[in-house]
């Protein structure tokens, strides 16, 4: 069973969204609706499911509805129509008190501009979720200290957020979200406000933490490299519609439409594509063509960039093997050429 399931969610902003809903349901697009009724379509029939323990990255340009979507998961925004099911409960049916309990325990959120409380110290900020849960001050401090250590902010616990740099502030935001030990982590463009070096640093930290904690993460970003790096699963939104959802390889190799294609055009393919996606299967490959002495073994999960220099230097053929050492397939210079060129897959 998926951890989070979004079923046919519509969100329309304006004075009387329910009156506009039939028009949107009948297929009118965002511009038409805006022109005819003055209402803005935030989400248009979005359905997706997110499995437990995976990182789902939701991507799109500004105004595509991604921030609206993530706010539906904890009902900071209520949908106009549709169901949102988290852990088997339809959260649209929760009353106010149940919703508050749901937010307290099930999920927490990290914000683009951090959303820290300027009047609380770092440790009070991190302990906020626990404070809301009604935990005693001593326990709060103890749990918050653990989080401070896990994000590497020891010694800053009694500073105020404005005394920290942007990267440190976002670490506080992350620690605050983790302190309540939620199963789901919502990250709304969490690293977009950081400079590139700190951003990649934070991405590494998140990957490390995720390897340990195995949370279900919903991550919003407009940066494709970031989404390919973090995501097990990527959904691309355009004008409130989900245009494609799939693994990073699927998105790169078979973009669903022009919009996605424009998105993936400039991506560094060597960084994203894995050996197993570009190889020719062992049974389809004529192994007589190569001399075995020139063969170089790589793991099926490794990225092209890891073995590309070796191939270029030694002019060798790559043999793709799985964990047990069985041969799965081969990659020659031709496959590399096809997979690395922007329109290579049309040649095929």
């Amino acid at each position: 069973m998926p951890k989070i399931e979004i079923k046919n969610v519509y969100k329309i902003f304006g004075n009387s969204p329910t009156e506009v809903l039939p028009m949107v349901k009948s297929g009118a697009n965002k511009e038409e609706v805006l022109e005819k009724t003055g209402h803005t379509v935030g989400l248009d029939n979005v359905s997706l499911s997110i499995e437990e323990g995976e990182t789902f990255v939701c991507m799109g340009l500004s105004g595509s509805g991604k921030s609206t979507l993530i706010r539906h998961l904890n009902r900071l925004i209520d949908p106009t129509d549709g169901d949102i099911i988290v852990d088997g409960t339809n959260i649209m049916e929760l009353d106010e008190q149940q919703l508050i309990d749901f937010r307290k325990h099930e999920l927490s959120m990290v914000f683009q501009r951090f959303g820290l409380f300027p009047h609380k110290t770092v440790i009070e900020n991190i302990g906020y979720g626990l404070e809301i849960q009604g935990k005693e001050a001593e326990e709060r401090r103890k749990l918050a200290m653990i989080q401070i250590e896990s994000v590497g902010l020891q010694g800053f616990e009694d500073q105020y957020p404005s005394q920290l740099s942007g990267g440190m502030q976002q670490r506080v935001g992350l620690a605050r979200a983790l302190a309540t030990n939620p199963e789901i982590l919502l990250m709304d463009e969490a690293f977009s406000a950081l400079d590139p070096l700190i951003r990649s640093d934070m991405q590494n930290q998140l990957i490390e933490l995720q390897a340990k904690l195995k949370k279900t993460i919903v991550f919003i970003t407009h940066d494709l490299d970031e989404s390919l790096r973090l995501g097990d699963h990527i959904g691309i939104l355009n004008g409130g519609r989900l245009v494609q959802a799939g693994t990073p390889e699927e998105i790169i190799m078979s973009p669903a439409d022009d919009y996605v294609e424009a998105f993936v055009k400039d991506v560094n393919r060597a960084k994203v594509l894995r050996a197993k996606t570009v190889m020719i299967k062992a049974n389809e490959f004529n192994s007589n063509e190569i001399k075995l002495a020139d063969v170089f073994k790589v793991d099926e999960g490794s990225y092209i960039e890891q073995f590309l220099p070796k191939v270029l230097a030694d002019r060798c053929t790559v043999m793709v093997v799985d964990k047990k050492g069985d041969t799965k397939g081969y990659i020659t210079e031709k496959e590399l050429a096809i997979s690395l060129s922007k329109d290579g897959y049309n040649l095929k």
Binding site: L76, I100, S108, M109, L116, P118, Y128, G129, Q163
Partner: protein, 395 residues
């Protein structure tokens, strides 16, 4: 209140509505305090039901109906003003034979608002004056007690008290403390008579501000929370700020008698709006993402208000209290015209005797008092601001 969708509920609510209208109408007749409260209890659901029923009418129709209604009221007003005027022409037919009334504003085209208000006012005093007597008595008691305590205290003790309060509220800033102490000393130093009068004025201002805070801040919070409340209250605040002080000083005398109490009430009317506005603004200006963060962690409305919104709006609210203080002092001088004692009284005395020196001396004392009160509230606001939004990095 959300729209009633069920047909049965619609009919039931209209039925209750009619009953309420009838009962409130009958409750208009017996006039005493008990029935006034009952009336208030009935009026609120009556209004909500009325709004609900109006919502049932389609919007465009409601718009047309409201135009017709306004036109009818306008015509009725003109007819009433014509009929009740004493200087109308002998015969209506003169109006369309002799057109001189088109040149100068005709005497009969005059709504009898003044008479209505006076009539209403008189019966209001007769029926409900007791309530104001009670309020006035309570305030007077508080005012007298507080004033007597400070007046009877030896003056060095008062100065030391002021210095001590400033020292702690300003976060142990020596400069501000010394300055405030010096100003306090100088009030008495200008003229020994001023010392007791300054205490009277201060007591009035302090009680006025206390009422402003107790009433103003909750109203500000309610305004920040709901668009509807804000739209309803803003015109009232505008009226309170714009209406000349004498318009409520005089009814104040009638309701509360001469002296400190009408002054305190006028302080409230004059000085409360900026506090309400700044509270409302302060809460609405709190960063939206911070509010979202609190909500995403499951904060209830109360936790949000007390834990996030109010602390972050506090610098603005303190600024509001500071403004409130300054305006209260200005009002105290005007209130001396209705026999309120205090420093304003000295200014008035100087003016009446054409004694420029005395008037200026008293004016200076008011300025000093203003500085003292301003520095005390300002310093406290700054201290809070430093604690909540530290800008400088600690070394």
């Amino acid at each position: 209140m959300h729209n009633i969708s069920n047909l049965f509920l619609k009919i039931a609510s209209s039925f209750i509505f009619v009953l309420l209208i009838i009962s409130t109408y009958y409750l208009l007749i017996p006039k005493n305090i008990f029935f006034l409260f009952l009336k208030f209890i009935f009026i609120i659901p009556t209004i909500t039901l009325l709004v609900n029923l109006l919502n049932l009418i389609p919007k465009y129709l409601l718009y047309q109906l409201s135009k017709i209604f306004a036109a009818v009221v306008m015509v009725a007003l003109i007819v009433v003003s014509y009929l009740s005027s004493k200087r109308k022409p002998d015969n209506v037919s003169e109006l369309y034979t002799d057109f001189t009334w088109l040149i100068n504003w005709p005497k009969w085209l005059d709504t009898p608002f003044m008479h209505w208000i006076n009539k209403g006012w008189r019966s209001f005093i007769a029926d409900y004056g007791v309530i104001f007597d009670a309020i006035g008595y309570g305030l007077l008691r508080g005012y007298t007690e507080l004033k007597t305590v400070i007046v009877q205290a030896p003056w060095p003790v008062v100065i030391i008290g002021v210095i001590a309060i400033t020292y702690f509220t300003s976060g142990r800033k020596l400069g501000t403390t010394v300055f405030v102490g010096f100003c306090t000393f100088f009030i008495g130093f200008l003229n020994p008579r001023f010392w007791d009068k300054a205490i009277e004025t201060t007591t009035m201002v302090v009680i006025g501000i206390a009422i402003c805070i107790v009433i103003g801040i909750p109203i500000g919070i309610a305004m920040a929370r709901s668009e509807k409340v804000r739209n309803a209250i803003l015109p009232i605040l505008d009226t309170m700020q714009v209406i000349p002080a004498f318009c409520y000083l005089i009814p104040g005398i009638i309701l509360f008698g001469l002296g400190a109490i009408p002054a305190i009430i006028s302080i409230f009317i004059y000085a409360c709006p900026p506090l309400i506005r700044l509270t409302d603004l302060g809460i609405r200006l709190v960063d939206k993402e911070v509010i979202e963060a609190a909500r995403s962690f499951g904060a209830s409305k109360k936790q949000m208000l007390l834990g996030v919104q109010l602390p972050l709006a506090l610098p603005n609210i303190m600024q509001g209290i500071n403004q409130c203080t300054m305006m209260a002092l200005a009002m105290v001088v005007i209130a001396s015209m209705i026999g309120t004692r205090g420093l304003g009284d000295e200014v008035l005395l100087g003016l009446q005797q054409l004694n420029v020196g005395a008037a200026l001396e008293a004016g200076l004392a008011i300025v000093l008092l203003a500085i003292v009160l301003d520095r005390m509230t300002q310093a406290y606001g700054e201290k809070i601001q430093e604690r909540t939004q530290p800008t400088k990095k600690k070394k």
